[in-house]
Point group: C2
Chain length 324, copies 2
Protein backbone atom coordinates (compact mmCIF):
# COMPACT_ATOMS: atom_id res chain seq x y z
CA UNK A 1 0.00 0.00 0.00
CA UNK A 2 1.17 3.49 -0.78
CA UNK A 3 -0.08 6.94 -1.75
CA UNK A 4 0.19 7.78 -5.44
CA UNK A 5 0.58 11.42 -6.48
CA UNK A 6 2.30 13.40 -9.21
CA UNK A 7 5.33 13.55 -6.88
CA UNK A 8 5.59 9.80 -6.39
CA UNK A 9 5.02 9.24 -10.12
CA UNK A 10 7.76 11.72 -11.09
CA UNK A 11 10.45 9.93 -9.09
CA UNK A 12 9.00 6.45 -8.61
CA UNK A 13 8.64 6.98 -4.85
CA UNK A 14 6.68 4.86 -2.38
CA UNK A 15 5.80 7.85 -0.21
CA UNK A 16 5.04 11.47 -1.24
CA UNK A 17 7.70 12.78 1.14
CA UNK A 18 10.77 14.94 0.47
CA UNK A 19 13.64 15.44 2.90
CA UNK A 20 14.27 19.19 3.19
CA UNK A 21 17.83 19.97 2.08
CA UNK A 22 18.80 21.42 5.48
CA UNK A 23 22.18 23.12 5.05
CA UNK A 24 24.90 21.09 6.74
CA UNK A 25 22.33 18.79 8.39
CA UNK A 26 20.95 16.82 5.45
CA UNK A 27 24.19 15.06 4.54
CA UNK A 28 24.67 12.28 2.03
CA UNK A 29 23.95 9.53 4.53
CA UNK A 30 20.59 11.03 5.58
CA UNK A 31 19.57 11.78 2.00
CA UNK A 32 20.44 8.24 0.92
CA UNK A 33 18.60 6.73 3.90
CA UNK A 34 15.46 8.70 3.03
CA UNK A 35 15.69 7.68 -0.63
CA UNK A 36 16.33 4.04 0.27
CA UNK A 37 13.18 4.14 2.41
CA UNK A 38 11.09 5.14 -0.62
CA UNK A 39 10.96 8.94 -0.24
CA UNK A 40 13.15 11.60 -1.89
CA UNK A 41 16.32 12.54 -0.02
CA UNK A 42 17.90 15.90 -0.79
CA UNK A 43 21.42 16.78 0.33
CA UNK A 44 21.51 20.23 1.98
CA UNK A 45 24.23 22.00 0.07
CA UNK A 46 23.33 25.37 1.63
CA UNK A 47 25.69 28.15 0.56
CA UNK A 48 27.60 25.80 -1.72
CA UNK A 49 30.87 24.95 0.05
CA UNK A 50 32.68 22.83 -2.57
CA UNK A 51 34.54 20.50 -0.18
CA UNK A 52 31.38 19.72 1.79
CA UNK A 53 29.40 19.18 -1.40
CA UNK A 54 32.02 16.81 -2.86
CA UNK A 55 32.05 14.71 0.27
CA UNK A 56 28.30 14.52 0.89
CA UNK A 57 27.23 14.15 -2.74
CA UNK A 58 29.72 11.28 -3.12
CA UNK A 59 28.16 9.57 -0.10
CA UNK A 60 24.61 10.05 -1.37
CA UNK A 61 25.48 8.69 -4.79
CA UNK A 62 27.31 5.71 -3.30
CA UNK A 63 24.69 4.79 -0.70
CA UNK A 64 21.52 4.72 -2.77
CA UNK A 65 20.46 3.52 -6.16
CA UNK A 66 17.08 5.26 -5.79
CA UNK A 67 16.36 8.83 -6.91
CA UNK A 68 18.00 11.46 -4.72
CA UNK A 69 18.89 15.09 -5.07
CA UNK A 70 20.52 18.24 -3.80
CA UNK A 71 19.27 21.61 -2.63
CA UNK A 72 21.08 24.95 -2.63
CA UNK A 73 20.41 28.53 -1.52
CA UNK A 74 19.89 30.34 -4.80
CA UNK A 75 21.14 33.83 -3.89
CA UNK A 76 24.36 32.40 -2.40
CA UNK A 77 25.59 30.16 -5.22
CA UNK A 78 27.38 30.41 -8.55
CA UNK A 79 27.29 28.52 -11.83
CA UNK A 80 30.35 26.62 -10.59
CA UNK A 81 28.39 25.37 -7.57
CA UNK A 82 25.57 24.16 -9.78
CA UNK A 83 27.97 22.44 -12.19
CA UNK A 84 29.78 20.75 -9.31
CA UNK A 85 26.51 19.44 -7.86
CA UNK A 86 25.29 18.27 -11.28
CA UNK A 87 28.51 16.32 -11.81
CA UNK A 88 27.30 13.87 -9.14
CA UNK A 89 24.22 13.14 -11.26
CA UNK A 90 21.42 13.90 -8.81
CA UNK A 91 17.88 13.16 -9.99
CA UNK A 92 16.42 16.30 -8.40
CA UNK A 93 17.81 19.80 -7.96
CA UNK A 94 16.09 22.13 -5.53
CA UNK A 95 16.65 25.89 -5.54
CA UNK A 96 15.32 28.06 -2.69
CA UNK A 97 15.47 31.77 -1.85
CA UNK A 98 16.15 33.81 -4.94
CA UNK A 99 15.70 33.90 -8.70
CA UNK A 100 16.31 30.40 -10.09
CA UNK A 101 16.46 31.55 -13.71
CA UNK A 102 20.26 31.78 -14.20
CA UNK A 103 20.67 28.12 -13.23
CA UNK A 104 17.70 26.63 -15.02
CA UNK A 105 19.39 25.86 -18.37
CA UNK A 106 22.22 23.82 -16.82
CA UNK A 107 19.85 21.89 -14.56
CA UNK A 108 17.26 21.15 -17.26
CA UNK A 109 19.92 20.20 -19.82
CA UNK A 110 21.32 17.63 -17.38
CA UNK A 111 17.94 15.88 -17.28
CA UNK A 112 17.59 16.63 -13.59
CA UNK A 113 14.11 17.52 -12.22
CA UNK A 114 13.98 21.14 -11.07
CA UNK A 115 12.27 21.80 -7.73
CA UNK A 116 11.79 25.45 -6.77
CA UNK A 117 10.84 26.40 -3.22
CA UNK A 118 8.79 29.58 -2.91
CA UNK A 119 7.12 31.56 -0.12
CA UNK A 120 4.44 33.48 -2.00
CA UNK A 121 2.21 33.33 -5.04
CA UNK A 122 4.27 35.69 -7.18
CA UNK A 123 7.42 33.61 -6.79
CA UNK A 124 5.40 30.45 -7.48
CA UNK A 125 4.30 31.83 -10.84
CA UNK A 126 7.85 32.95 -11.61
CA UNK A 127 9.19 29.48 -10.75
CA UNK A 128 6.66 27.80 -13.00
CA UNK A 129 7.46 30.17 -15.84
CA UNK A 130 11.20 29.57 -15.31
CA UNK A 131 10.61 25.84 -15.87
CA UNK A 132 10.17 24.32 -12.41
CA UNK A 133 8.98 20.71 -12.57
CA UNK A 134 7.76 20.90 -8.97
CA UNK A 135 7.02 23.94 -6.79
CA UNK A 136 7.41 23.70 -3.01
CA UNK A 137 5.15 26.19 -1.21
CA UNK A 138 6.84 26.88 2.13
CA UNK A 139 5.05 28.47 5.08
CA UNK A 140 6.48 30.64 7.83
CA UNK A 141 6.14 27.88 10.43
CA UNK A 142 9.05 26.06 8.77
CA UNK A 143 12.38 25.78 10.53
CA UNK A 144 15.37 27.62 9.11
CA UNK A 145 14.94 30.25 6.43
CA UNK A 146 11.56 31.26 5.08
CA UNK A 147 9.19 34.19 4.89
CA UNK A 148 5.83 35.35 6.22
CA UNK A 149 2.90 33.38 4.74
CA UNK A 150 1.46 30.38 6.62
CA UNK A 151 1.34 26.94 4.98
CA UNK A 152 -2.37 26.14 5.42
CA UNK A 153 -3.72 29.11 3.40
CA UNK A 154 -0.64 29.42 1.14
CA UNK A 155 -0.72 25.93 -0.37
CA UNK A 156 -4.26 26.02 -1.85
CA UNK A 157 -3.65 29.57 -3.11
CA UNK A 158 -0.48 28.41 -4.90
CA UNK A 159 -2.28 25.34 -6.27
CA UNK A 160 -5.01 27.62 -7.68
CA UNK A 161 -2.48 30.08 -9.12
CA UNK A 162 -0.33 27.43 -10.84
CA UNK A 163 -3.14 25.33 -12.25
CA UNK A 164 -3.11 21.57 -12.73
CA UNK A 165 0.10 21.13 -14.72
CA UNK A 166 2.68 22.09 -12.05
CA UNK A 167 2.70 19.82 -8.98
CA UNK A 168 2.86 21.64 -5.65
CA UNK A 169 4.48 20.22 -2.51
CA UNK A 170 3.72 21.66 0.94
CA UNK A 171 6.46 22.64 3.40
CA UNK A 172 6.42 24.20 6.84
CA UNK A 173 4.74 22.87 9.97
CA UNK A 174 4.56 19.24 8.84
CA UNK A 175 6.22 16.54 10.94
CA UNK A 176 3.91 13.54 10.84
CA UNK A 177 1.38 11.65 8.74
CA UNK A 178 -1.45 13.95 9.82
CA UNK A 179 0.34 16.92 8.30
CA UNK A 180 1.13 14.96 5.13
CA UNK A 181 -2.52 13.92 4.78
CA UNK A 182 -3.60 17.53 5.37
CA UNK A 183 -1.21 18.69 2.64
CA UNK A 184 -2.82 16.24 0.19
CA UNK A 185 -6.26 17.63 1.10
CA UNK A 186 -5.05 21.14 0.30
CA UNK A 187 -4.17 19.99 -3.21
CA UNK A 188 -0.45 19.38 -2.67
CA UNK A 189 1.17 16.29 -4.18
CA UNK A 190 3.28 15.64 -1.11
CA UNK A 191 5.13 17.25 1.76
CA UNK A 192 8.70 18.38 2.39
CA UNK A 193 9.85 17.86 5.99
CA UNK A 194 12.90 19.36 7.69
CA UNK A 195 12.77 19.50 11.48
CA UNK A 196 11.42 15.94 11.79
CA UNK A 197 14.45 14.61 9.86
CA UNK A 198 16.89 16.87 11.74
CA UNK A 199 16.24 14.49 14.63
CA UNK A 200 16.94 11.40 12.49
CA UNK A 201 19.84 9.20 13.54
CA UNK A 202 21.67 9.82 10.25
CA UNK A 203 21.38 13.62 10.18
CA UNK A 204 24.61 15.59 10.58
CA UNK A 205 22.98 17.70 13.29
CA UNK A 206 24.83 17.77 16.61
CA UNK A 207 23.66 15.17 19.14
CA UNK A 208 22.82 17.96 21.59
CA UNK A 209 20.84 19.89 18.92
CA UNK A 210 18.74 16.78 18.30
CA UNK A 211 18.05 16.48 22.02
CA UNK A 212 16.98 20.12 22.14
CA UNK A 213 14.57 19.57 19.23
CA UNK A 214 13.01 16.57 20.95
CA UNK A 215 12.58 18.58 24.16
CA UNK A 216 11.32 21.82 22.55
CA UNK A 217 7.76 23.07 22.02
CA UNK A 218 6.57 25.05 19.01
CA UNK A 219 6.23 28.14 21.18
CA UNK A 220 10.00 27.94 21.80
CA UNK A 221 10.74 28.82 18.17
CA UNK A 222 11.04 32.26 16.66
CA UNK A 223 11.89 33.85 13.29
CA UNK A 224 14.96 36.05 13.49
CA UNK A 225 17.89 37.51 11.56
CA UNK A 226 20.40 37.72 14.43
CA UNK A 227 22.06 34.38 13.62
CA UNK A 228 22.58 35.47 10.02
CA UNK A 229 23.98 38.81 11.19
CA UNK A 230 26.54 37.28 13.55
CA UNK A 231 27.64 34.74 10.92
CA UNK A 232 27.97 37.41 8.22
CA UNK A 233 25.39 35.70 6.01
CA UNK A 234 23.85 38.52 3.97
CA UNK A 235 20.33 37.15 3.55
CA UNK A 236 18.16 39.43 1.42
CA UNK A 237 14.67 40.48 2.52
CA UNK A 238 12.12 39.03 3.16
CA UNK A 239 13.89 35.94 4.49
CA UNK A 240 14.36 35.24 8.18
CA UNK A 241 15.27 32.01 9.97
CA UNK A 242 13.18 30.12 12.52
CA UNK A 243 15.25 28.72 15.39
CA UNK A 244 14.83 27.56 18.95
CA UNK A 245 15.06 30.46 21.39
CA UNK A 246 18.37 30.54 23.24
CA UNK A 247 20.36 33.06 25.24
CA UNK A 248 21.97 34.61 22.16
CA UNK A 249 18.59 35.17 20.53
CA UNK A 250 17.04 36.60 23.70
CA UNK A 251 20.00 38.94 24.09
CA UNK A 252 20.11 40.40 20.57
CA UNK A 253 16.68 39.91 18.99
CA UNK A 254 15.46 43.45 19.60
CA UNK A 255 18.94 45.03 19.44
CA UNK A 256 20.21 44.26 15.98
CA UNK A 257 21.82 47.65 15.48
CA UNK A 258 23.89 47.14 18.62
CA UNK A 259 24.82 43.66 17.41
CA UNK A 260 26.06 45.12 14.12
CA UNK A 261 28.48 47.31 16.09
CA UNK A 262 29.58 44.43 18.35
CA UNK A 263 30.43 41.95 15.60
CA UNK A 264 34.19 42.25 16.14
CA UNK A 265 33.79 40.48 19.45
CA UNK A 266 30.51 38.62 18.92
CA UNK A 267 31.45 36.82 15.70
CA UNK A 268 34.63 35.18 17.11
CA UNK A 269 32.68 34.20 20.25
CA UNK A 270 29.98 32.69 18.05
CA UNK A 271 32.58 30.73 16.02
CA UNK A 272 34.06 29.32 19.22
CA UNK A 273 30.58 28.34 20.38
CA UNK A 274 30.05 26.50 17.10
CA UNK A 275 33.20 24.45 17.68
CA UNK A 276 32.17 23.72 21.26
CA UNK A 277 28.59 22.76 20.42
CA UNK A 278 27.31 25.54 22.69
CA UNK A 279 23.66 25.84 21.66
CA UNK A 280 22.98 28.53 24.19
CA UNK A 281 24.81 30.70 21.65
CA UNK A 282 24.61 28.80 18.35
CA UNK A 283 21.20 28.40 16.73
CA UNK A 284 19.27 25.19 16.28
CA UNK A 285 17.06 25.83 13.27
CA UNK A 286 13.66 24.27 13.98
CA UNK A 287 10.07 24.71 12.85
CA UNK A 288 6.87 25.09 14.84
CA UNK A 289 6.17 21.38 14.35
CA UNK A 290 8.81 20.49 16.98
CA UNK A 291 5.86 19.70 19.25
CA UNK A 292 5.42 16.58 17.12
CA UNK A 293 9.08 15.48 17.25
CA UNK A 294 9.58 13.22 20.23
CA UNK A 295 12.39 10.84 19.40
CA UNK A 296 15.63 10.39 17.47
CA UNK A 297 15.23 7.39 15.20
CA UNK A 298 16.60 6.18 11.85
CA UNK A 299 15.26 7.97 8.77
CA UNK A 300 13.84 4.73 7.39
CA UNK A 301 11.64 4.42 10.48
CA UNK A 302 10.46 8.03 10.04
CA UNK A 303 9.54 7.57 6.39
CA UNK A 304 7.70 4.36 7.16
CA UNK A 305 5.90 5.91 10.14
CA UNK A 306 4.85 9.12 8.38
CA UNK A 307 3.70 7.25 5.27
CA UNK A 308 1.71 4.71 7.30
CA UNK A 309 0.08 7.40 9.45
CA UNK A 310 -0.95 9.42 6.40
CA UNK A 311 -2.48 6.33 4.81
CA UNK A 312 -4.33 5.55 8.02
CA UNK A 313 -5.68 9.12 8.18
CA UNK A 314 -6.90 9.00 4.57
CA UNK A 315 -8.71 5.74 5.29
CA UNK A 316 -10.12 6.83 8.63
CA UNK A 317 -11.37 10.26 7.66
CA UNK A 318 -13.07 8.80 4.59
CA UNK A 319 -15.23 6.80 7.00
CA UNK A 320 -16.62 10.05 8.47
CA UNK A 321 -18.70 10.34 5.31
CA UNK A 322 -22.01 8.74 6.14
CA UNK A 323 -22.40 7.18 2.70
CA UNK A 324 -19.81 4.60 3.76
CA UNK B 1 -24.27 12.78 2.49
CA UNK B 2 -22.47 14.63 5.25
CA UNK B 3 -19.37 14.47 7.42
CA UNK B 4 -19.92 13.11 10.93
CA UNK B 5 -17.61 14.25 13.73
CA UNK B 6 -17.83 14.94 17.44
CA UNK B 7 -18.74 18.53 16.49
CA UNK B 8 -21.66 17.57 14.27
CA UNK B 9 -22.84 15.04 16.84
CA UNK B 10 -22.74 17.60 19.69
CA UNK B 11 -25.06 20.03 17.92
CA UNK B 12 -26.81 17.84 15.35
CA UNK B 13 -25.13 19.65 12.45
CA UNK B 14 -24.96 18.59 8.82
CA UNK B 15 -21.53 20.13 8.30
CA UNK B 16 -18.58 20.39 10.77
CA UNK B 17 -18.38 24.14 10.26
CA UNK B 18 -18.63 26.99 12.77
CA UNK B 19 -19.15 30.64 11.87
CA UNK B 20 -16.51 32.69 13.71
CA UNK B 21 -18.23 35.19 16.04
CA UNK B 22 -16.68 38.20 14.29
CA UNK B 23 -17.37 41.26 16.46
CA UNK B 24 -20.00 43.45 14.84
CA UNK B 25 -19.86 41.44 11.60
CA UNK B 26 -21.45 38.13 12.58
CA UNK B 27 -24.91 39.53 13.35
CA UNK B 28 -28.05 37.58 14.13
CA UNK B 29 -29.05 37.26 10.50
CA UNK B 30 -25.72 35.75 9.45
CA UNK B 31 -25.59 33.42 12.45
CA UNK B 32 -29.14 32.21 11.78
CA UNK B 33 -28.42 31.72 8.07
CA UNK B 34 -25.37 29.59 8.87
CA UNK B 35 -27.34 27.54 11.38
CA UNK B 36 -30.26 27.12 9.00
CA UNK B 37 -27.79 25.79 6.41
CA UNK B 38 -26.73 23.02 8.78
CA UNK B 39 -23.59 24.53 10.36
CA UNK B 40 -23.22 26.39 13.68
CA UNK B 41 -23.76 30.15 13.54
CA UNK B 42 -22.24 32.26 16.32
CA UNK B 43 -23.22 35.89 16.87
CA UNK B 44 -20.13 38.08 17.29
CA UNK B 45 -20.81 39.90 20.53
CA UNK B 46 -17.25 41.26 20.70
CA UNK B 47 -16.73 43.59 23.66
CA UNK B 48 -20.28 43.05 24.89
CA UNK B 49 -22.27 46.16 23.92
CA UNK B 50 -25.70 45.43 25.49
CA UNK B 51 -27.85 47.20 22.89
CA UNK B 52 -26.10 45.46 20.01
CA UNK B 53 -26.33 42.09 21.76
CA UNK B 54 -30.06 42.50 22.49
CA UNK B 55 -30.81 43.33 18.89
CA UNK B 56 -28.68 40.67 17.21
CA UNK B 57 -29.39 37.86 19.67
CA UNK B 58 -33.13 38.51 19.23
CA UNK B 59 -32.72 38.20 15.48
CA UNK B 60 -30.72 34.97 15.73
CA UNK B 61 -33.25 33.41 18.08
CA UNK B 62 -36.16 34.47 15.88
CA UNK B 63 -34.66 33.41 12.57
CA UNK B 64 -33.52 29.86 13.30
CA UNK B 65 -34.84 26.87 15.15
CA UNK B 66 -31.48 25.10 14.76
CA UNK B 67 -28.63 25.32 17.28
CA UNK B 68 -26.88 28.67 17.28
CA UNK B 69 -24.65 30.55 19.68
CA UNK B 70 -22.76 33.64 20.70
CA UNK B 71 -19.09 34.53 21.10
CA UNK B 72 -17.53 37.18 23.31
CA UNK B 73 -14.06 38.59 24.04
CA UNK B 74 -13.30 37.19 27.48
CA UNK B 75 -11.04 39.95 28.85
CA UNK B 76 -13.54 42.66 27.84
CA UNK B 77 -16.76 41.35 29.34
CA UNK B 78 -18.54 41.13 32.69
CA UNK B 79 -20.89 38.68 34.37
CA UNK B 80 -23.73 40.97 33.27
CA UNK B 81 -22.73 40.51 29.62
CA UNK B 82 -22.72 36.76 30.00
CA UNK B 83 -26.10 36.74 31.76
CA UNK B 84 -27.60 38.99 29.09
CA UNK B 85 -26.37 36.69 26.32
CA UNK B 86 -27.56 33.57 28.16
CA UNK B 87 -31.04 35.07 28.52
CA UNK B 88 -31.49 34.55 24.76
CA UNK B 89 -30.93 30.82 25.24
CA UNK B 90 -28.05 30.17 22.83
CA UNK B 91 -26.98 26.55 22.40
CA UNK B 92 -23.28 27.41 22.28
CA UNK B 93 -21.22 30.02 24.10
CA UNK B 94 -17.74 30.81 22.82
CA UNK B 95 -15.15 32.64 24.90
CA UNK B 96 -11.91 33.86 23.30
CA UNK B 97 -8.86 35.79 24.53
CA UNK B 98 -8.55 35.52 28.28
CA UNK B 99 -9.31 33.30 31.25
CA UNK B 100 -12.77 31.75 30.79
CA UNK B 101 -13.00 30.46 34.35
CA UNK B 102 -15.10 33.26 35.95
CA UNK B 103 -17.88 32.70 33.41
CA UNK B 104 -17.88 28.92 33.27
CA UNK B 105 -20.39 28.25 36.08
CA UNK B 106 -23.13 30.47 34.59
CA UNK B 107 -22.65 29.05 31.11
CA UNK B 108 -22.53 25.41 32.17
CA UNK B 109 -25.50 25.81 34.54
CA UNK B 110 -27.57 27.17 31.66
CA UNK B 111 -27.01 23.95 29.74
CA UNK B 112 -25.16 25.81 27.00
CA UNK B 113 -22.14 24.14 25.36
CA UNK B 114 -18.92 25.98 26.21
CA UNK B 115 -16.48 26.59 23.35
CA UNK B 116 -13.11 28.07 24.28
CA UNK B 117 -10.83 29.49 21.61
CA UNK B 118 -7.11 29.24 22.38
CA UNK B 119 -3.84 30.10 20.65
CA UNK B 120 -1.39 27.79 22.39
CA UNK B 121 -1.12 24.46 24.14
CA UNK B 122 -1.06 25.86 27.67
CA UNK B 123 -4.33 27.73 27.19
CA UNK B 124 -5.84 24.63 25.57
CA UNK B 125 -5.11 22.58 28.69
CA UNK B 126 -6.46 25.38 30.90
CA UNK B 127 -9.66 25.56 28.83
CA UNK B 128 -10.19 21.81 29.07
CA UNK B 129 -9.62 21.90 32.82
CA UNK B 130 -12.04 24.83 33.15
CA UNK B 131 -14.75 22.70 31.54
CA UNK B 132 -14.70 23.54 27.83
CA UNK B 133 -16.87 21.17 25.79
CA UNK B 134 -15.00 22.12 22.62
CA UNK B 135 -11.61 23.79 22.17
CA UNK B 136 -10.94 25.91 19.08
CA UNK B 137 -7.22 26.01 18.23
CA UNK B 138 -6.68 29.27 16.35
CA UNK B 139 -3.60 29.97 14.26
CA UNK B 140 -1.93 33.30 13.52
CA UNK B 141 -3.13 33.31 9.90
CA UNK B 142 -6.65 34.04 11.19
CA UNK B 143 -8.23 37.42 10.55
CA UNK B 144 -8.88 39.71 13.50
CA UNK B 145 -7.38 39.00 16.88
CA UNK B 146 -5.10 36.07 17.54
CA UNK B 147 -1.54 35.23 18.50
CA UNK B 148 1.63 33.73 17.03
CA UNK B 149 1.33 29.98 16.40
CA UNK B 150 0.35 28.68 12.94
CA UNK B 151 -2.71 26.47 12.49
CA UNK B 152 -1.13 23.51 10.67
CA UNK B 153 1.35 22.55 13.43
CA UNK B 154 -0.79 23.92 16.32
CA UNK B 155 -3.88 21.77 15.75
CA UNK B 156 -2.25 18.31 15.99
CA UNK B 157 -0.19 19.48 18.98
CA UNK B 158 -3.39 20.61 20.76
CA UNK B 159 -5.15 17.36 19.80
CA UNK B 160 -2.26 15.38 21.33
CA UNK B 161 -2.18 17.53 24.47
CA UNK B 162 -5.93 17.34 25.15
CA UNK B 163 -6.39 13.65 24.44
CA UNK B 164 -9.46 12.03 22.92
CA UNK B 165 -12.19 13.36 25.22
CA UNK B 166 -12.12 17.06 24.28
CA UNK B 167 -13.01 17.78 20.63
CA UNK B 168 -10.73 20.27 18.89
CA UNK B 169 -11.85 22.59 16.08
CA UNK B 170 -9.31 24.28 13.78
CA UNK B 171 -9.39 28.03 13.07
CA UNK B 172 -7.16 30.33 11.04
CA UNK B 173 -6.36 30.12 7.34
CA UNK B 174 -9.40 28.03 6.38
CA UNK B 175 -11.82 29.37 3.77
CA UNK B 176 -12.88 26.40 1.68
CA UNK B 177 -13.52 22.67 1.70
CA UNK B 178 -9.85 21.88 1.18
CA UNK B 179 -8.99 23.62 4.43
CA UNK B 180 -11.85 21.89 6.25
CA UNK B 181 -10.71 18.49 4.96
CA UNK B 182 -7.13 19.30 6.00
CA UNK B 183 -8.36 20.21 9.49
CA UNK B 184 -10.05 16.81 9.78
CA UNK B 185 -6.78 15.10 8.75
CA UNK B 186 -4.97 16.96 11.54
CA UNK B 187 -7.36 15.43 14.06
CA UNK B 188 -9.76 18.37 14.36
CA UNK B 189 -13.50 17.70 14.50
CA UNK B 190 -14.32 20.65 12.28
CA UNK B 191 -13.29 24.14 11.28
CA UNK B 192 -14.24 27.66 12.36
CA UNK B 193 -14.27 30.19 9.50
CA UNK B 194 -14.33 33.96 9.75
CA UNK B 195 -13.07 35.84 6.70
CA UNK B 196 -14.98 33.62 4.26
CA UNK B 197 -18.26 34.49 6.02
CA UNK B 198 -17.35 38.19 6.34
CA UNK B 199 -18.01 38.26 2.59
CA UNK B 200 -21.41 36.55 2.97
CA UNK B 201 -24.45 38.51 1.83
CA UNK B 202 -25.93 38.49 5.35
CA UNK B 203 -22.84 39.66 7.23
CA UNK B 204 -23.00 43.11 8.83
CA UNK B 205 -19.68 44.00 7.23
CA UNK B 206 -19.70 47.15 5.09
CA UNK B 207 -20.33 46.56 1.39
CA UNK B 208 -16.99 48.20 0.57
CA UNK B 209 -15.17 46.02 3.15
CA UNK B 210 -16.57 42.90 1.49
CA UNK B 211 -15.34 44.14 -1.90
CA UNK B 212 -11.88 44.74 -0.44
CA UNK B 213 -11.80 41.19 0.95
CA UNK B 214 -12.75 39.73 -2.41
CA UNK B 215 -10.03 41.78 -4.12
CA UNK B 216 -7.27 41.20 -1.53
CA UNK B 217 -4.45 38.64 -1.48
CA UNK B 218 -3.11 36.91 1.63
CA UNK B 219 0.09 38.92 1.33
CA UNK B 220 -2.00 42.10 1.80
CA UNK B 221 -2.78 41.15 5.41
CA UNK B 222 -0.71 41.92 8.48
CA UNK B 223 -0.91 41.45 12.26
CA UNK B 224 -0.86 44.77 14.10
CA UNK B 225 -1.94 46.61 17.24
CA UNK B 226 -2.37 50.10 15.73
CA UNK B 227 -6.11 49.74 15.18
CA UNK B 228 -6.59 48.72 18.81
CA UNK B 229 -4.45 51.65 19.93
CA UNK B 230 -6.39 54.26 17.99
CA UNK B 231 -9.74 52.84 19.15
CA UNK B 232 -8.62 52.73 22.80
CA UNK B 233 -9.12 48.97 23.00
CA UNK B 234 -6.66 47.78 25.64
CA UNK B 235 -5.88 44.32 24.27
CA UNK B 236 -3.51 42.40 26.53
CA UNK B 237 -0.40 40.64 25.16
CA UNK B 238 0.08 38.44 23.19
CA UNK B 239 -2.94 39.33 21.05
CA UNK B 240 -2.68 41.30 17.82
CA UNK B 241 -5.20 41.70 14.99
CA UNK B 242 -4.74 40.67 11.35
CA UNK B 243 -6.19 43.22 8.93
CA UNK B 244 -5.83 44.25 5.33
CA UNK B 245 -3.02 46.75 4.88
CA UNK B 246 -4.26 50.29 4.36
CA UNK B 247 -2.86 53.81 4.58
CA UNK B 248 -3.44 54.08 8.32
CA UNK B 249 -1.57 50.82 8.97
CA UNK B 250 1.31 51.76 6.67
CA UNK B 251 1.59 55.14 8.39
CA UNK B 252 1.63 53.99 12.01
CA UNK B 253 2.72 50.35 12.08
CA UNK B 254 6.34 51.03 13.02
CA UNK B 255 5.57 54.24 14.94
CA UNK B 256 3.25 53.18 17.74
CA UNK B 257 4.85 55.45 20.31
CA UNK B 258 4.19 58.45 18.10
CA UNK B 259 0.62 57.27 17.58
CA UNK B 260 0.12 57.13 21.34
CA UNK B 261 1.03 60.82 21.53
CA UNK B 262 -1.17 61.75 18.55
CA UNK B 263 -4.36 60.06 19.77
CA UNK B 264 -6.07 63.39 20.56
CA UNK B 265 -6.27 64.09 16.85
CA UNK B 266 -6.05 60.57 15.41
CA UNK B 267 -8.88 58.99 17.38
CA UNK B 268 -11.54 61.56 16.31
CA UNK B 269 -10.31 61.28 12.71
CA UNK B 270 -10.61 57.50 12.96
CA UNK B 271 -14.14 57.75 14.37
CA UNK B 272 -15.16 59.99 11.46
CA UNK B 273 -13.64 57.51 9.03
CA UNK B 274 -15.70 54.75 10.63
CA UNK B 275 -18.89 56.72 10.00
CA UNK B 276 -17.86 57.46 6.43
CA UNK B 277 -16.84 53.88 5.62
CA UNK B 278 -13.31 55.09 4.79
CA UNK B 279 -11.33 51.84 4.75
CA UNK B 280 -8.14 53.59 3.87
CA UNK B 281 -8.22 54.55 7.56
CA UNK B 282 -10.51 52.01 9.22
CA UNK B 283 -9.37 48.38 9.35
CA UNK B 284 -10.91 45.46 7.55
CA UNK B 285 -10.05 42.44 9.69
CA UNK B 286 -9.14 39.60 7.35
CA UNK B 287 -7.11 36.40 7.47
CA UNK B 288 -4.46 35.06 5.12
CA UNK B 289 -7.07 32.87 3.44
CA UNK B 290 -8.50 35.92 1.61
CA UNK B 291 -6.81 34.49 -1.49
CA UNK B 292 -9.58 31.89 -1.46
CA UNK B 293 -12.46 34.40 -1.08
CA UNK B 294 -13.63 35.45 -4.52
CA UNK B 295 -17.30 36.31 -4.23
CA UNK B 296 -20.02 37.69 -1.97
CA UNK B 297 -22.79 35.08 -1.74
CA UNK B 298 -25.44 34.00 0.76
CA UNK B 299 -24.18 32.07 3.77
CA UNK B 300 -26.28 29.04 2.84
CA UNK B 301 -24.40 28.80 -0.44
CA UNK B 302 -21.07 29.01 1.40
CA UNK B 303 -21.96 26.27 3.88
CA UNK B 304 -23.18 24.02 1.08
CA UNK B 305 -20.12 24.73 -1.06
CA UNK B 306 -17.54 24.23 1.71
CA UNK B 307 -19.24 21.07 2.95
CA UNK B 308 -19.50 19.58 -0.54
CA UNK B 309 -15.89 20.42 -1.40
CA UNK B 310 -14.63 18.83 1.82
CA UNK B 311 -16.62 15.69 1.10
CA UNK B 312 -15.26 15.57 -2.44
CA UNK B 313 -11.67 15.95 -1.15
CA UNK B 314 -12.12 13.13 1.39
CA UNK B 315 -13.42 10.87 -1.35
CA UNK B 316 -10.84 11.87 -3.95
CA UNK B 317 -7.75 11.72 -1.77
CA UNK B 318 -8.79 8.30 -0.49
CA UNK B 319 -8.45 7.07 -4.07
CA UNK B 320 -4.73 7.96 -4.04
CA UNK B 321 -4.24 4.85 -1.92
CA UNK B 322 -3.38 2.12 -4.36
CA UNK B 323 -5.37 -0.54 -2.50
CA UNK B 324 -8.53 1.05 -3.94
Amino acid sequence: MAIKTALTETFGLEHPIILAPMAGVSGGRLAAAVSNAGALGLVGGGYGDPAWLRKELSIARAETSRPWGVGLITWAITHQTVDLALSYEPHAFMLSFGDPQPYVPAIKTSGCALICQVQDIGDALAARDAGADIVVAQGAEAGGHGAARATLPLVPAVVDALGPTTPVVAAGGIADGRGLAAALMLGAQGALLGTRFYAATESLGHRRAKELIVAARGADTRRTTVFDAVRGRKWPAPYTGRALRNSFLERWDTREEELAIALDTETPRFRRAEKEGDFDTVMVWAGEAVDLVQDVVPASELVRRIGAEAEERLRFVRTLLDDD
